[in-house]
C-alpha cells in the first residue's frame, strides 16, 4: 500500500470512529427524551385535581352548634347530615340508588373537607356559600379525558346516571380543575384523588438526613486516615480491597443486614427513616470513601511537602492544605453517594418501609414511606389515578436527583478554579 493510500485509510478510520461515537450519543439522547416524554405525559395529570362546586348552608341551628363556636366545638360537631344534604342538592335524584351514585362522584372525604372549610372561615356560619369539593378518582379521570366513557355501562365503574350528572355539572360550569396541592401535602391513601407524596417526601428527607449525618463524617475521617496517616501494609491493603468490594455489594444485601441486625437484634422501630437511614448509610459509606480518597490522592504531594517543610505537623499539613483542596471532589462524591441512596428501593422494602402509612412522619422514628418505595407501591395499584401518580412521583424523585447531581457538578467547578 502506498503512503497516500495508508493516509486515506487512516482518515477513513477516524471518520468512521467519529460516526459511531456520534450515533451512540444521539441514541442515548433519544432514549432519555423518550423516557422523559413517557413519564411526563403520564404524570402531568397528577398535578391537577378536579373539584365540584357544592352549595352548603352552614345553619347553626341545624348543626346544633353555638353561634360562636371554638375550633374544638366544630371538630366535635357531626357534619354528616349537612354534608349529605348539600351533596344531594347538586342534582335531583330519585331513590336510594341514584342518591348513592350522586354521593359517589365525590371523594369520600367530603364531610372532613366541609368541616375544615368552616374551621378556617368561621365568618360563613349561618350563611350559604359555595365550596369546591374534591371529585372522586373516576370523575377526576373522566374530567382529565382518561376515562373510556364509550364502553357499555356494565364494563364501566361510572354509571350512566353519574355520567348524566357529570355532563350537567360541566354544562353549569360546576366542575373545576385546580393545582393539586394534595400531591405534596397528603400522605398515602386508598383513594388516588387523596393520595400524596407528602409522607414519602418527609420520609425520604429524614432518611437522607440520617444517612448524611452518619456516612459523611465517618467516610471523610476514614478516607483521610487511610490516605494520609495509615501505614501502607497488608492490613490497609486488605481494608482498601474490602472497601472496593463493599461498594459493589448489591443494595438488597444491606437491606438484609438492616433487617437482621437493626430490626432483629437491636429491635429498632420498623418502617422508620432511622433504620432506613442507618441501612443506607452503610451502603453509602464505601461509595463516599472511594471518591474522597481519590480526591485526596489527587492533591499534589508538593503541597504536603511545602507545608511540612515550613514546620507544619502532619495533621496541620492535612487539615490546612490537603483537605481544603480535596473538598470539591469530596463534596461531589458525597452528594452523588447520597443521590444514589435517595433512589434506593430494595433495602427499604426489606426493612419494612413498604408499609401503608397515611400519617405524615414528624420525626425519623415515625413509620413512613419514602419516594422510591412510594413509586413501587403505587405502580402495583390498578386505579388510573395511581398510574399518573406513579409517574408524578418519579418526576419528583428525578427532580431531586438531578438537582443534587447538578449541585455536585456546580461545587466541583466552583471550587476547582482556585486549584493550581
Amino acid at each position: 500500500m502506498s503512503k497516500e493510500e495508508l493516509l486515506k485509510k487512516r482518515y477513513r478510520a477516524e471518520k468512521r470512529f467519529k460516526f459511531y461515537g456520534l450515533t451512540s450519543v444521539i441514541l442515548a439522547i433519544l432514549f432519555v427524551l423518550f423516557l422523559v416524554n413517557v413519564i411526563f405525559s403520564k404524570g402531568k395529570g397528577a398535578f391537577s385535581r378536579t373539584t365540584i362546586s357544592v352549595e352548603v348552608d352552614f345553619n347553626t341551628e341545624k348543626l346544633e352548634i353555638k353561634n360562636n363556636p371554638t375550633n374544638e366545638e366544630i371538630q366535635d360537631t357531626d357534619f354528616y347530615d349537612l354534608s349529605i344534604e348539600s351533596l344531594l342538592n347538586v342534582y335531583k335524584t330519585k331513590g336510594l340508588k341514584e342518591e348513592k351514585d350522586l354521593i359517589r362522584i365525590f371523594s369520600p372525604d367530603y364531610e372532613f373537607e366541609i368541616k375544615n372549610f368552616i374551621i378556617e372561615n368561621k365568618g360563613f356560619l349561618n350563611k350559604t356559600t359555595i365550596i369546591e369539593l374534591t371529585a372522586s378518582d373516576d370523575i377526576d379521570q373522566l374530567n382529565k379525558g382518561n376515562y373510556p366513557r364509550h364502553l357499555p355501562e356494565e364494563r364501566r365503574r361510572i354509571s350512566d346516571f353519574q355520567l348524566l350528572i357529570y355532563d350537567k355539572l360541566v354544562e353549569d360550569n360546576k366542575i373545576q380543575k385546580t393545582f393539586n396541592t394534595f400531591l405534596f401535602t397528603n400522605g398515602d391513601s386508598r383513594d388516588p384523588e387523596l393520595a400524596g407524596v407528602g409522607g414519602s417526601l418527609l420520609g425520604s428527607f429524614f432518611t437522607i438526613i440520617v444517612t448524611l449525618l452518619l456516612s459523611f463524617p465517618i467516610a471523610i475521617l476514614a478516607s483521610i486516615y487511610l490516605e494520609e496517616f495509615a501505614p501502607k501494609n497488608r492490613i490497609t491493603d486488605f481494608i482498601e480491597i474490602n472497601i472496593n468490594n463493599l461498594a459493589a455489594v448489591p443494595s438488597i444485601v444491606f437491606g438484609l443486614l438492616g433487617l437482621g441486625i437493626l430490626l432483629g437484634t437491636f429491635d429498632f422501630p420498623r418502617s422508620t427513616p432511622l433504620v432506613a437511614g442507618i441501612t443506607l448509610a452503610l451502603m453509602t459509606l464505601p461509595r463516599i470513601i472511594i471518591p474522597c480518597r481519590a480526591s485526596l490522592k489527587a492533591v499534589p504531594p508538593s503541597i504536603r511537602e511545602g507545608a511540612l517543610a515550613v514546620g507544619a505537623s502532619k495533621v496541620q499539613s492535612v487539615t490546612h492544605h490537603v483537605v481544603p483542596l480535596a473538598i470539591p471532589g469530596t463534596l461531589s462524591g458525597t452528594i452523588i453517594g447520597l443521590a444514589q441512596a435517595l433512589g434506593e428501593t430494595a433495602p427499604l422494602i426489606l426493612i419494612g418501609m413498604v408499609a401503608f402509612v397515611v400519617d405524615l412522619p414528624s420525626s425519623p422514628v415515625d413509620p413512613s414511606a419514602s419516594l422510591p418505595v412510594q413509586v413501587y407501591l403505587w405502580s402495583e395499584q390498578a386505579e388510573r389515578g395511581f398510574v399518573e401518580k406513579t409517574s408524578a412521583t418519579i418526576m419528583i424523585l428525578l427532580t431531586f436527583l438531578i438537582t443534587m447531581n447538578a449541585f455536585a457538578v456546580y461545587l466541583r467547578q466552583k471550587f476547582e478554579r482556585r486549584w493550581s
Binding site: 501505614p231 501502607k232 499534589p300 508538593s302 503541597i303 504536603r304 511537602e305 511545602g306 507545608a307 511540612l308 517543610a309 515550613v310 514546620g311 507544619a312 505537623s313 496541620q316 490546612h320 492544605h321 483542596l325 482556585r418 486549584w419 493550581s420
Partner: protein
C-alpha cells in the same frame, strides 16, 4: 572563608530506600553562612542528602537512615528530635515552585502563624513584608497580596517559596534544584538573592548546573552513586580537584 564554624556535620550517613542504598557513608561538613553546592549526576543522592537534614525523608515509609547528623553539635537523627521544631530551624525550597493555593500573603504568613511567631496582626504584616523584601519580591507583589500565589510567574513563585521558607527565620535553607524549572532571567534573580541571603542563613543548594555552583557557592561537594566523592572550596573543586572522577564530571566527560 570568612566564617569557618561548622553548622551541619554528617558522619557515616547511610540511607536506604527499601533494599536500595541511596547514600553510602557520607561524611560532610557544611559551614555557617556559606553557600554549599552539591553536584553530581541524577540519582547520586544529593537530594536524599539534603532531605536528611530536615528529616523530610521521614515521609517516605521505606526510608532508613543511619549515622550521625549534627546541627550545631546537636544530634538530630534520632526519635527524640521534634521534626516540627527542626523544620522551623531548617527551611526548604523545592525543585518545582509549590506555593499553597492561597493568597500571596497567606503563603508567607502560614509558617509564622503555626509557630506562633506573631501575636498580633501588625507583627504578622511586618513578618510578611520583611520576608517578601528579603526574597526580593516585595516590589512586585506589594499591591496584590490578596491574589493567589499560584497566579505568579514561575520565578516569582519560587521567590515566594523562598519568602515562605525564611518567614519563620530559620538557620539553614535547603534548596533542591531551585532553578531547574526557571528561565535564565528568573534564575539570575534567585542567584542574586542567594548572595544576599547567605549573609544571614546557611544555604545548601543541590544543582545540576556547574556554572551555577561556581557562581553562587563557596564550597562544593560532588556525589556519585551515593558516595560523596570529594568536597572542597568551590574554587579548588573547579580548578584543581583531587579526584579524577570530579575532574571528569565537571569537564562534562560523564554525567
Amino acid at each position: 572563608m570568612t566564617n569557618n564554624k561548622v553548622k551541619i556535620k554528617t558522619e557515616k550517613l547511610d540511607v536506604f530506600y527499601g533494599q536500595k542504598q541511596a547514600l553510602k557513608n557520607v561524611n560532610l561538613e557544611i559551614f555557617n553562612r556559606e553557600v554549599t553546592a552539591l553536584i553530581g549526576p541524577s540519582g547520586c543522592g544529593k537530594s536524599t542528602y539534603i532531605r536528611c537534614i530536615n528529616r523530610m525523608n521521614d515521609v517516605i515509609e521505606t526510608c532508613k537512615i543511619s549515622g550521625s547528623i549534627k546541627i550545631d553539635g546537636q544530634e538530630i537523627n534520632n526519635k527524640q528530635i521534634d521534626v516540627v521544631r527542626l523544620r522551623e530551624r531548617i527551611g526548604m525550597v523545592f525543585q518545582k515552585p509549590n506555593p499553597f493555593p492561597k493568597s500571596i500573603y497567606d503563603n508567607v504568613a502560614y509558617g509564622p502563624q503555626i509557630h506562633g511567631l506573631a501575636d498580633h496582626k501588625d507583627k504578622l504584616d511586618q513578618i510578611v513584608q520583611t520576608s517578601l523584601k528579603k526574597s526580593a519580591l516585595w516590589e512586585e507583589v506589594k499591591d496584590r497580596l490578596d491574589e493567589p500565589g499560584t497566579s505568579l510567574s514561575g520565578g516569582q513563585q519560587q521567590r515566594l517559596c523562598i519568602a515562605r521558607a525564611i518567614s519563620v527565620n530559620p538557620e539553614v535553607i535547603l534548596m533542591d534544584e531551585p532553578c531547574s524549572a526557571l528561565d535564565p532571567i528568573a534564575t539570575a534573580k534567585i542567584e542574586e538573592l542567594m548572595e544576599e541571603l547567605k549573609k544571614t542563613f546557611t544555604i545548601v543548594i543541590v544543582t545540576h548546573s556547574m556554572a551555577q555552583a561556581v557562581r553562587v557557592s563557596q564550597r562544593t561537594g560532588f556525589f556519585h552513586l551515593g558516595n560523596l566523592i570529594e568536597v572542597d572550596t568551590t574554587d579548588k573543586m573547579f580548578k584543581n580537584p583531587n579526584n579524577k572522577m570530579t575532574q571528569d564530571y565537571i569537564t562534562g566527560r560523564f554525567g
